[in-house]
Amino acid sequence: MTTQTTTPKTPSPATPGGATGLIGIPPHLGRALATGGGALTVVSTFLAWTWTSAFPGDLTVYGYPGGLQVLALIGGALTALLGLASYGVKGLRWLAPAGADPAVKFAALATLATTWYTVIAISAQLGGVVNLEPGGYLAAAATLIAFLGALALPFRHPDPDPFDPDSTSWERFRHTTAQRWGTVRAAFAPGTPRPAPTLPSWAEILVIVAVLGVALTVFTYGIGTEYDELFVGFLITAGLGFAALHRSGLIAQVTEITARHQNITICGAFVAAACFPFTQTDDQYATLGVYILIFATVALGLNIVVGLAGLLDLGYVAFLGVGAYAASLVSGSQSSPFDVHFPFWAAVLVGAAASLVFGVLIGAPTLRLRGDYLAIVTLGFGEIFRITANNLDGTSGPDVTNGSNGIAGIPDLDILGFDFGTHHDVAGVTIGRFANYFFLMLLITAVVVLVFRRSGDSRIGRAWVAIREDETAALAMGINGFRVKLIAFAVGASLAGLAGTVQAHVTYTVTPEQYLFAGTTPPNSAFLLAAVVLGGMGTIGGPLIGAALLFLIPNKLQFLGDYQLFAFGLALVLLMRFRPEGLVPNRRRQLEFHEEADAPAVLGKTGA
């Protein structure tokens, strides 16, 4: 048998003869312009960009950067450093293991976009460019220079494809457009990264710690952005900056290192997450943290059902509701018809068990269906839950859930004398109410991650994936499809119920309207599914990142108002077009290194 081994092409750092950039500036000049422009941007952020403090953020001061200037500073510094790395400066080469040129382009683009967004926002908000100080003009010019310089960097042009002389002018136009687009894509295409150097394991762990530290800083910065402009700037810089690092090959190397120490990475991530409340001075943003964590945990539970077993569940939020209702009914709340007050551990068990029962009850009749039919039926059951909860109000039915008023006045938790309702001082830092719940929720998240990881890599997890891949073949391999799917459904349901028990206490009130199919505030079934798909199906990190983004963006961009759902839909369409595997691709995707050239197909055939 012939074994074909494809060796990855070694990256060609040097300019192949005759290769030119996208625009007609000589490459060596372009490189200098890009690096210099980046450095100049850094300088400009220390100047005042506007004369009045009417624009939020402290952009009026000479001497130190403030607000959006910090983002421009980061972008400029990144451009300059990558530019220096492209010169082969010793000590910076680690920055760009896959060749610095495409990375410089992205970094320059990030800086350009952030700076120009700021400048335009200032001009538009304050009425005219006269409101800009020289620092603003300098920044705008410097970023433009850097970007133009970056565009002049050489790249491997795609082979020209001569067109058919017989074609009509429209076809010719389309042909040339496609060709130009191909050239632009090639200009930004990454090289092949060299494999990560094998460092001693303590050094690798230090790298992981540093990466987690950066991630925590970025997340904390994003969650703490105080005004719309800063958050938009943050999204632009973070998104394009991440793309730049991805193009430089740094992300690939870090992924390689974290893959070597998976358990350490996951533990480290939890430690980093636990550090989050200590970075907050008041409860304002810790609140966001708890809600994000609840949303993310439920999304991760859904990922077992959708990502592993491939069962498209459009009513998943109902299980969160069942858990929350179950916990609230036994919480000792005044509006609960049951006059009991269970300790938290018992309430958790009740919530998870109630969700489990509902999961089996809903799953047993529906899981015999496949694909679209299952999706429709689960959508129906999600609505049935909400309407039932609405009707169990004593007039339309027995008095259990208090109808649309819901169960109100759920008391704060008190575990072993630790009152979650008040703030505590830990090591000089005040831990408020939401931070308390944040830690509790983090525990639940850890349980879900543990279940996801361990069940995914086992006989039952392989059976789930097999069912998702090809149900007929899975049955022929001796897998009891119905049973295995029911287990996935029940496990997913109980994990959501687990999260629901905490959610009930965090929100004080449980009403049916919190558990819609689609709404503007997560969690709802549509957003949960979107978080899974956006983040990457079948991964742990994917739904967490997807959920954080989907929660933060509507929460921070209040000006979108009624267009939130529209923007959300548009973003989802674009993502599915350009990155169908999600933000965090599955490990299986990375195994496809042999077919690098082929565009990846959609990984999960959800439910199909």
């Binding site: 048998m1 074994t3 074909q4 543990l450 279940v451 361990r454 069940s455 890599d457 086992s458 006989r459 039952i460 997890g461 392989r462 059976a463 994936v465 097999a466 891949e469 090809d470 007929t472 073949a473 899975a474 049955l475 022929a476 391999m477 001796g478 897998i479 009891n480 499809g481 287990i487 496990v491 299986r588 195994l591 496809e592 042999h594 077919e595 990984l603």
Partner: protein, 318 residues
């Protein structure tokens, strides 16, 4: 891979019919008004390789699906080692019948090793709690499964590619992987649905050796195939299915010499056909040749799986 170069010359003689592994009696499968399989009897004994041939649309795959629980026969019964087959395909696999598919149905986004591990599903029983709690029993079972799976991959010659995605394998290796996956369920009977479809002669030859090696492990094999050279080299017994009915069953020579088989593949001469005389002559010659077709060197040309022939057959039917 164990290379067993047993050829047709000595295989049938060497095999003594063991106990009956598979016993299908009067299997009939109707879809509405269409009878796809009509009263087919077939037995497979242990240590035997049985072939099932027939023109396109003869009902071979339907019959296969009846044997594997994908369909429940409308009439008749199928027994595996004396036990009536359960009506669910996963239970059939648990009972000891494994199969491959005509159009490869691997778990494309799983690795080669994982594919084989899925095949181990019925022979292991670690459930959800065992996976989450990860006791010593879990690790032991997982280790044993992996060792067995690697053994099987080694057997079919894919051990070096254990970590590749199944979809990235070349076609011939995907077929091999499907066989390894089926073997992982420790079957007593292996059903192969066109295992050499789309293969070149070298690959077909390798598959042939693989099937002999499987038979030598004591696993009975039932093969559907269009490649007559392959079938007559391989099989101790061949059954011919035409329009849902079993036409003839016997060793290679008998089947190749049977007029009805030739007619089924090539079509019957029309009455008053001007070429009838020649056709009859050719047929006679072929039938004559067929009786001597005992060696691989002369692998029975009359029933060669010419797609055109099948087509012609269909046209005559209309």
């Amino acid at each position: 891979m164990t290379t067993d170069t047993t050829t047709q010359g000595n295989a049938p003689g060497a095999t003594t019919p063991g106990r009956t592994v598979l016993d299908a009696r009067g299997v009939t499968m109707r879809f509405g008004g269409l009878t796809a399989v009509r009263g087919v009897d077939l037995t497979v004994n242990s240590g035997e390789i049985v072939g099932l041939i027939g023109p396109n649309g003869a009902g071979k795959t339907t019959f296969f699906n009846c044997l594997t629980g994908l369909y429940t026969p409308t009439e008749g019964e199928v027994r595996y080692q004396g036990q009536l087959l359960p009506p669910k395909s996963f239970k059939v696999t648990a009972a000891g019948i494994a199969r491959t598919f005509q159009n490869i149905r691997l778990f494309a986004n799983m690795t080669v090793l994982e594919n084989v591990l899925v095949g181990r599903h019925t022979r292991t029983k670690e459930g959800f709690w065992s996976a989450v709690l990860r006791g010593p029993g879990f690790h032991r079972a997982e280790k044993a499964s992996r060792a067995r799976a690697m053994e099987l991959l080694d057997f079919v010659g894919l051990a070096a590619k254990a970590d590749h995605l199944a979809r990235n394998l070349p076609y011939g290796e995907q077929r091999k992987l499907e066989i390894a996956r089926a073997l992982a369920s420790e079957p007593g009977l292996l059903l192969l649905d066109e295992p050499t479809a789309g293969m070149n002669p070298q690959e077909t030859r390798a598959t042939e050796e693989l099937v002999f090696a499987i038979r030598d492990q004591g696993i009975a094999v039932l093969v559907i195939e269009h490649d007559m050279r392959f079938i007559f080299n391989l099989c101790d017994r061949v059954a011919v299915l035409v329009q849902g009915e079993k036409l003839v069953e016997g060793d290679s020579a008998t089947v190749q010499g049977d007029d009805r088989v030739v007619a089924a593949y090539l079509g019957e001469p029309l009455d008053n056909d001007p070429g009838a005389a020649e056709a009859a002559e050719v047929e006679a010659a072929e039938a004559h040749a067929g009786t001597h077709a005992g060696t691989p060197a002369d692998p029975g040309t009359p029933a060669d799986p010419d797609p055109a022939a099948g087509q012609q057959n269909k046209e005559t039917d209309r």
